[in-house]
């Protein structure tokens, strides 16, 4: 007699695959929203500051002052949205949100410049968004400094500056933010789709009363759990491959490392997520509860996985919280593989932890699942 620990697995697989494949709409609604989320997230999370609206109050109106302004526009950080006549008008433009930065060039700008007096330019920066404000400030300082250094070099006849930093930006030379964010978005989006899917698959059985029918049979819990997990693992991998394709071809993020390693890491990650889904499914009484419990697992990973905010600056408690989330390790893994082209010996510890989590979560689900009701 068949006493394998996976008894009944083939029955569950048979049923789940039919269930999933029979209804193209269900499949569509499992795959489609993550793709949309991915594209939306990918575009929304672009914090490369470009073409910030700049309002000008030019009281000097000389060739020099216009050339100075051109230098600002040429950085591509700013774009001139209009000229104003008074300083009050400029402040009002910023308050209205039509301009993020205002620049006032005083009437004696060219005169001071020619006379060798310090020429001052006033800048008003909307500081409510600290990221863009900081970038505006840095760019402005840079422009002014460059012009000052050029003029001083012209006066002294020196050809070089005394100290020069020659930076080499590794792994993301153009500093595009999609390269940083999009792999993280994949980690988050995968989580939403897969966790819900298995949680729902188990809860549906409970709601319809079919779970009772399964429990009456000699089906083993390992067979049930694995049978529920495998079909969604296939869908999860399919979804991941679509997401990676979008990343590669729509957001033009190159994959520096091994694609096989990337898919293996994704496989382990999906396994861990689906196990969380199973856990939720075995605890929740109905679909509403399952949804809320899944959110409880999904939300922290958005904040504490290092997806947006660097974990290093978090208070220790949130850092610790991030350490128990599979998403944290997955995001660090795929950033290493995709962006830095790391090899196995350079990321093995994250992969080991992730694998350990996947195995642990699955075992907990199966062992804690009692073949009883009530």
């Amino acid at each position: 007699m068949n006493r394998s620990p996976f008894r009944g697995l083939n029955a569950i697989l048979f049923k789940e695959f039919i269930t999933v494949l029979r209804d193209p709409m269900t499949l569509f609604f499992m795959l489609f929203p993550p793709l949309v989320e991915m594209i939306a997230f990918g575009y929304a999370l672009d914090n490369d500051v470009k073409h910030m609206p700049l309002a000008i109050l030019n009281e000097d109106r000389t060739v020099e002052s216009r050339r100075f302004l051109d230098r600002f526009v040429n950085t591509e950080t700013f774009r001139i949205v209009g000229e104003v006549q008074t300083i009050e008008e400029m402040a009002s433009e910023i308050r209205k949100g039509r301009a993020s930065v205002g620049m006032q060039i005083p009437p004696h700008f060219t005169r001071d410049l020619r006379a060798g007096h310090p020429a001052t330019v006033q800048m008003l920066i909307d500081g409510s968004n600290s990221t863009t404000a900081l970038q505006a400030l840095n760019t402005a300082l840079g422009v002014a400094l460059t012009q000052s250094v050029e003029m001083m070099m012209g006066e002294t006849g020196r050809r070089t500056v005394p100290v020069e930093i020659r930076p080499q930006m590794l792994y993301n030379p153009t500093m595009r933010s999609p390269n940083f964010y999009v792999p993280g978005v994949i980690g988050i989006v995968l989580q939403i789709g897969t966790t819900f899917a298995t949680a729902m698959a188990v809860v549906r059985e409970r709601e319809r009363g079919t779970l009772e029918q399964l429990l009456v049979s000699p089906l083993s819990r390992w067979g049930l759990m694995l049978g529920k997990l495998v079909p969604y693992l296939c869908i999860g991998m399919l979804m991941a491959m679509l997401l990676f394709s979008i990343m590669r071809f729509l957001f033009a993020v190159p994959i520096a490392g091994s694609v096989i390693a990337l898919l293996f890491a994704t496989f382990v990650y999906c396994f861990a997520l689906l196990s969380i889904g199973l856990f939720v499914g075995t605890k929740a009484e109905n679909q509403m509860q399952a949804l809320q419990m899944s959110m409880m697992f999904v939300l922290p990973s958005v904040f504490f996985s290092g997806f947006i905010f660097p974990r290093e600056t978090m208070p220790w408690i949130f850092y610790a919280l991030g350490s128990i989330l599979p998403t944290t390790y997955f995001i660090s893994l795929i950033r290493a593989i995709i962006l830095r082209g790391a090899n196995f010996f350079e990321y093995w510890h994250a992969l080991t932890i992730l694998t350990g989590m996947a195995v642990f979560l699955f075992c907990v689900c199966a062992l804690r699942f009692r073949k009883k009701i009530g």
Binding site: M1, N2, R3, R7, G8, N10, A11, F14, K15, I18, T19, R22, D23, R208, G209, T210, E212, Q213, L214, L215, V216, S217, P218, L219, K371, K372, I373, G374
Partner: protein, 321 residues
């Protein structure tokens, strides 16, 4: 080997402070149809679930074919089939796929699975619907499919939890014909129901009320119980016009212990001393002529009504004391 296929002793289930099943003991012999009756919430389904091994008893033991469910769960699960109240089928699977699924669940080898499926399709006449999704079947056909699924692994004991709730009378009768056939082949059936006519067809019945098994035995033995048929009384069926008027009149007659309306007639439990003439006269006095009167035996409903009333009365006394 004992011939008892289902045995339970002191089976008890408590949910917190609430006792859903209170020290229930009975046994069901091989090949019998055991009808399990009781109002909603009396503990019928809880007993079935404990016997199927999906609910752990708080106290007591249950055995299937001599094997303790708590200790030999996997072995007993091979032997039982279970058809729940809801006919739990997979709606998105076709009739055929539901059957194949059930077979695989019990690890039937492919050949046997096919053979068994064809056999059950023959018995249940599901042939024309094989490729139809279970969701699109009507109640009667869903119930047949659910039963076929429960039978794929040839269980020796079949539990049916209200198998006829909400299906049409024709399907109901056909189901019972099937049940008799299975019992004839040696299968033991455990059926819960609300229908008295179904209870009458069972070889044994048990009646559970307020979590306690009030009575258990063959229907004929139950009807002969002294509480139900007190010595010196008989039951009469009186058919006449204006039954409700007649009922009120009958309750005034000395020696009429109980009177109940049954459709166009009423059932009376009367003292042996009461003669037909008295009944005739009383009815004529309220303007009802030519009643048809004949003697009848008690029905199972009479049994359960009597026992429930007695139980309620003793409860009241307890509370008063």
């Amino acid at each position: 080997m004992s011939d008892a296929m289902i045995e339970c002793e002191g089976l008890t289930k408590r949910f917190g402070n609430f006792t859903a099943v209170d020290h229930v003991s009975f046994s069901v012999a091989r090949g019998s149809i055991f009808g399990f009756l009781g109002p909603n919430g009396s503990g019928k389904s809880t007993v079935i679930r404990m016997l199927c091994g999906i609910l752990e008893p708080t106290e007591g033991t249950a055995r299937i074919a001599g094997r303790d469910i708590a200790r030999e769960g996997d072995e007993t699960k091979e032997m039982i089939g279970y058809m729940s109240q809801k006919f739990s089928l997979y709606d998105e699977l076709t009739v055929n796929e539901n059957l194949v699924f059930s077979g695989k669940l019990y690890s039937l080898p492919d050949k046997e699975l096919k053979r068994r499926r064809d056999e059950l399709i023959g018995i249940t006449h599901l042939e024309p619907y094989l490729d139809r999704r279970a969701a699109l079947l009507s109640g009667g056909w869903r119930q047949r499919l659910a039963m076929a699924c429960a039978l794929m692994h040839k269980p020796t004991v079949l539990f049916l939890d209200e198998p006829t709730a909400g299906i049409d009378p024709v399907a109901r009768r056909e189901l019972w014909d099937l049940l008799f056939e299975f019992a004839g082949q040696g299968m033991t059936l455990f059926v819960t129901t609300h229908y008295m006519d179904e209870a009458e067809r069972c070889s044994h019945v048990g009646y559970i009320y307020n979590s306690r098994l009030m009575v258990c035995g063959e229907p004929d033995d139950l009807k002969r119980m002294p509480e139900v048929s007190p010595p010196g009384t008989r039951r009469l069926d009186v058919t006449c016009d204006h039954v409700t008027v007649a009922l009120r009149a009958m309750r005034e007659v000395k020696g009429v212990l109980n009177a109940t309306v049954f459709g166009q007639s009423m059932h009376l439990l009367v003292d042996e001393t009461v003669r037909r003439q008295e009944i005739d006269e009383k009815l004529r006095s309220v303007g009802i002529a030519s009643p048809e009167i004949h003697e009848i035996g008690p029905s199972l409903e009479d049994v359960f009504v009597t026992l429930t009333a007695k139980h309620a009365a003793s409860n009241q006394q307890e509370r008063a004391a």
